[in-house]
Amino acid sequence: MQFKSMVISNVEVSPNYFRMRMSAPEELASAVPGQFVMLKVNDAIDPLLRRPFGLFDVGSFVPEYAGCGTQVYCEILYKVVGKGTKILSALHHGDLVDLLVPLGKGFQMGPAGEEKVLVGGGVGLAPLYYLAKELKQRGEKVRLFAGGRNRDDVLCITEFERLGVETYVATDDGTLGERGFVTQVLERHLGTGMRIFACGPTPMLNAVAKMSQKLGVPCQVSMEAYMACGVGACLGCVMKGANHSDETPDYRCVCKDGPVFDSFELQWS
C-alpha cells in the first residue's frame, strides 16, 4: 500500500550510516522480516525514482500527544551513497516521505530448534535485525556474523546483543573483531542443524551460498538490485535464476520473486 509517512527520528549511527524511524500504517505490523519499502525522498522529480530499503525494524509506540492510540512505526538503516540518500539523511522529525509497504517476499524462518545463523555486511544487517528480533521472540538460538571493511561498517551490534544474539565480527582491516572476511569466521562455525539467513554485498552472498551448498545447510539470501517500481512492472531488478542460460533464460524479479531467495534458486558466479 501507499502511505504518507512522518519521520520520527533520523540518526547517524556510524559515519555515513543513518537509522531512520517513520510512522507506518497498521498493516505493516504484520510485515515479514526481509520485506522492504520503496521510499520517495521528496515530491520533486529529482531524484525521480523511489529507493528500496529493507525493513530494519517494525514496532509500535504510544505518541506523547494526548489522546493518541498506539502508532506503528518502521525503521530503515541506510548508507549515504548518492543524491537520494543524501536528501534522506537531511530529513528531520516531522518531515513527510511517501512509502510503498510492505513489498516482496521475506524470510522463511524454518522449524524451531535449529540454530539460526545470520550473516550480514554493512547495510545488509538491516533486514537481519528485524529477523533476529522475531526469531528471539520465538525463543530461537540466533548467532550473527557481521562483516565490513572497517569498524564503521559494522552497525548496531549492541542492538543485536541486547536481543540476546551471539555476535561474531570480522573487518578487512581488523579495526573490529577478527581481521579478514566474515565468511572465514562463518566457515569455522557452520555445521548441520543450522539455517543461514544472509544479506550483504554480492561477493559475500556468493561465498555464503557456495559454502552452505557444500555443507548442505539451508540458506536464504536477501538480494539488492536497482529497481524503478518495486511492484514487478519495470523488470529492471531481475537476477539470473539457477538454470539460466542464454538458450533457456530464467530471470527472477528481486522486488516480486524476492528480495529473499533460497540460495538454490539463483545462479552464483
Binding site: Q2, L48, L49, L100, Y226, C229, V231, L235
Partner: protein, 305 residues
C-alpha cells in the same frame, strides 16, 4: 456545475477519460490493482508481447538520470500464449479497455502475433511497437525506415480487425515522414513518443552503466521533445494521436491534448507513483472544473499557435 465530460473515443475505442497506461510500465495491469482503481482510467496497454516468451537483456537494465531514467529491459515478456492463458482472464474482469502491445523479431512474427490477438474477447485494440531501441531485431528497424514501417503496418492491418495503433520512435530525422507512412499503411491511430536512445557512463569504472550500453530515456526530461513531435504530427496527419513522454501530472497531460493528442499515456510516472494514472485523470478533471470547460474533447488540438 456539472462534472466535465472526460470521455474520448480513440479509433473507435470508447474511453471514460484520456488516460492510458504506457506499455512496459504497467505490467499486465494486476501488478497495480493494490494501488489504484483500474476502472478509473481510460485504457490499459500491456507489456509488449511477442510470439515466444522473451528473456530480455542482461543487467543492469535501468539507471536513473537527471529528470528521467534509462532502460534497456529488452522486451522481456511472457509471450502471446501465456498472456492469453494467464493474464487476459484477469483483465477481462476489469471494465476498462485493454490494448495489447505487440512486436515481432521478424516481419512475419508481427503478422502472426496480430492474428493470434484478433478475435480475442477482452482485447479492445492493438498497439504495434516499431520503436523499441533496445533489441537488435525488430523494433527500431521498422521504426526508422518509412518503407519498412509501411510494410509491417500493412501486414498487421491485414491480420487484424481490431483498431490498430502504431507506436512511433523519436529516434528519427523526421517523425512526420514516419507518421505519414504508418497512416498510409492503414494505422487507425498513432502513439508517440517511445523512448529516446541515450547512455549513461560510470566515470570511475570507465564503463557504461547499462549492460546494453545504450538504453531508452523516459521521464520528465523528454516531455518537451514529445510535445514538439505530437504537435508536428498533429498538423500533418489526420489520425487520432496518443501523446506519451514524461507526463507526471494533469497539466502535463492536458498540454499534450492541446498539442493535438486525443489521449495520453502515463509511463515512467507509474514507477514512482503506482497510482499516477488515476491521479492524473483526477487532476485533468479538476483543471476542467476550475476553468469551466465542459468537455475534455474541446482541448484536443486547441493550441493557439
Amino acid at each position: 456545475m456539472q462534472r466535465p465530460d472526460m470521455s474520448v473515443v480513440l479509433a473507435g475505442i470508447p474511453m471514460r477519460n484520456p488516460v492510458m497506461t504506457a506499455s512496459g510500465t504497467f505490467g499486465y495491469g494486476a501488478e497495480f490493482a493494490d494501488y489504484l482503481d483500474l476502472e478509473s482510467i481510460g485504457a490499459m496497454v500491456t507489456k509488449g508481447l511477442s510470439l515466444k516468451p522473451k528473456a530480455g537483456n542482461p543487467t543492469p537494465r535501468i539507471v536513473e538520470t537527471q529528470g528521467g531514467m534509462l532502460n534497456a529491459i529488452g522486451l522481456q515478456n511472457v509471450g502471446i500464449d501465456a498472456f492469453i492463458e494467464q493474464k487476459l482472464p484477469y483483465l477481462k474482469n476489469v471494465n476498462t479497455p485493454v490494448i495489447a502491445n505487440l512486436y515481432g523479431n521478424t516481419l512475419e512474427e508481427y503478422g502472426e502475433v496480430a492474428s493470434r490477438l484478433d478475435g480475442l474477447a477482452g482485447v479492445a485494440g492493438i498497439e504495434v511497437n516499431i520503436s523499441c531501441p533496445n533489441v537488435k531485431q525488430g523494433g527500431i528497424v521498422f521504426g526508422t525506415d518509412p518503407g519498412a514501417a509501411k510494410e509491417v503496418v500493412s501486414l498487421v492491418k491485414r491480420n487484424t480487425s481490431k483498431p490498430l495503433i502504431v507506436k512511433l520512435s523519436p529516434n528519427v530525422t523526421d517523425v512526420v515522414l514516419m507518421a505519414k507512412a504508418c497512416a498510409d499503411a492503414g494505422a487507425d491511430a498513432l502513439s508517440l513518443i517511445n523512448t529516446l536512445t541515450g547512455m549513461a557512463i560510470d566515470l570511475d569504472r570507465r564503463r557504461p552503466v547499462l549492460a546494453n550500453v545504450t538504453g531508452g530515456l523516459s521521464g520528465p526530461a523528454i516531455k518537451p521533445v514529445a510535445l514538439r513531435m505530437v504537435w508536428q504530427v498533429a498538423k500533418a496527419v489526420k489520425l487520432p494521436l496518443i501523446g506519451i513522454g514524461g507526463i507526471m501530472n494533469g497539466r502535463d497531460a492536458l498540454e499534450f491534448m492541446l498539442a493535438g493528442a486525443t489521449a495520453i499515456q502515463v509511463g515512467t510516472a507509474s514507477f514512482l507513483d503506482p497510482s499516477a494514472a488515476q491521479r492524473i485523470a483526477q487532476e485533468m478533471e479538476q483543471y476542467l472544473v476550475e476553468q469551466g470547460i465542459e468537455s475534455v474533447r474541446s482541448l484536443i488540438g486547441a493550441l493557439e499557435a
